[in-house]
């Protein structure tokens, strides 16, 4: 079959977007099927001294049961299907900001029961409280970058 250059080019831009879309779709279905989109269930996992619901641990086990061997097999390839190389995190040092950032995230997570994935998924409900949470989350990210730019500029 003859493929024109223009057709090849549009396939090259459309296909990675299709797979990113498909990945997002499966991702949110996983969050919903597992119940993790429900902050009450997440908080019940974090409430080890109350009526503990260990479901979240099984969600992580299920995810890791697929992703650990899956990543291993995929990373044996020279590169991904639709990009030149794998864009993997390159940092390996354990800086204070890693632990401090994770600690702050955990406090926010424990206060409302939302982490980024479930919060973005739950936006489809168009509920005011979820819109507020996501807006605050985006603001928190922007505030972080603003603070970082200022402290770097001072140096």
């Amino acid at each position: 079959m003859y493929l024109s250059e223009a057709m090849k080019k549009s396939a090259n831009t459309a296909l990675p977007l299709f797979f990113a879309l498909l990945s997002g779709t499966l991702f949110s279905l996983g969050l919903i099927v597992s119940g993790m989109v429900n902050p009450a269930k997440v908080l019940a996992f974090l409430d080890v001294a109350g009526n503990w619901d260990p479901t979240l641990a099984f969600v992580m086990l299920g995810a890791l049961a697929v992703a650990t061997p899956g990543f291993r097999i995929v990373l044996r390839r020279r590169g991904p299907w639709f990009a030149d190389r794998f864009a993997l995190p390159t940092k390996s040092d354990l800086e204070p900001r890693l632990a401090l950032g994770a600690a702050l995230f955990g406090i926010g997570w424990g206060l409302a029961g939302f982490c980024p994935g479930p919060a973005v998924t739950a936006l489809v409900t168009a509920r005011g409280d979820i819109v507020l949470f996501v807006a605050a989350m985006l603001a928190g990210t922007l505030i972080h970058d603003w603070v970082e730019r200022r402290t770097q500029a001072r140096r």
């Binding site: 797979f19 990113a20 990945s23 997002g24 779709t25 499966l26 991702f27 279905l29 969050l31 919903i32 099927v33 597992s34 429900n38 019940a44 080890v48 109350g50 619901d53 479901t55 099984f58 969600v59 995810a63 890791l64 049961a65 697929v66 992703a67 650990t68 899956g70 990543f71 990373l75 190389r85 794998f86 864009a87 940092k91 390996s92 890693l98 632990a99 950032g101 994770a102 600690a103 702050l104 995230f105 406090i107 926010g108 997570w109 424990g110 206060l111 409302a112 029961g113 939302f114 919060a119 998924t121 489809v124 996501v134 605050a136 989350m137 603001a139 928190g140 990210t141 505030i143 972080h144």
Partner: protein, 140 residues
Amino acid sequence: MTPFTPVSGFLGGMLIGFAAVLLLLANGRIAGVSGIIGGLLTRIRGDVAWRAAFVVGVWLGALIYWIARGELFAVESVASWPVLLIAGLLVGFGTRMGGGCTSGHGVCGIARLSKRSIIATAVFMGSGIATVFVTRHVLV
């Protein structure tokens, strides 16, 4: 109190893991939601479209489930608006500072056996558990 649902939890987790493997295989990217969203805010040229497509996919999945089941999934939140505001700011700031959230560090990072992600996950689980302990058992 919510019921313990290990089977649907494990199966849903497998879907999340499969989604992460697919994104790495096709796009060479890590399926970390805070990172994907953060990149939409900074908007580096040529690095926006796949992120937007992933987010649209997330909403599409939610709509598919909603339509297929004929009812909306449960999202039970009792947090007041001031608490949601503070929690959101902390989640946005903290995930940016710590370089990831439950999906990026907790799933993808641990799957790669990254020491940073294992530590980050232990820390946010610990501080999350401590926070819930304080709000539910100390302050009440």
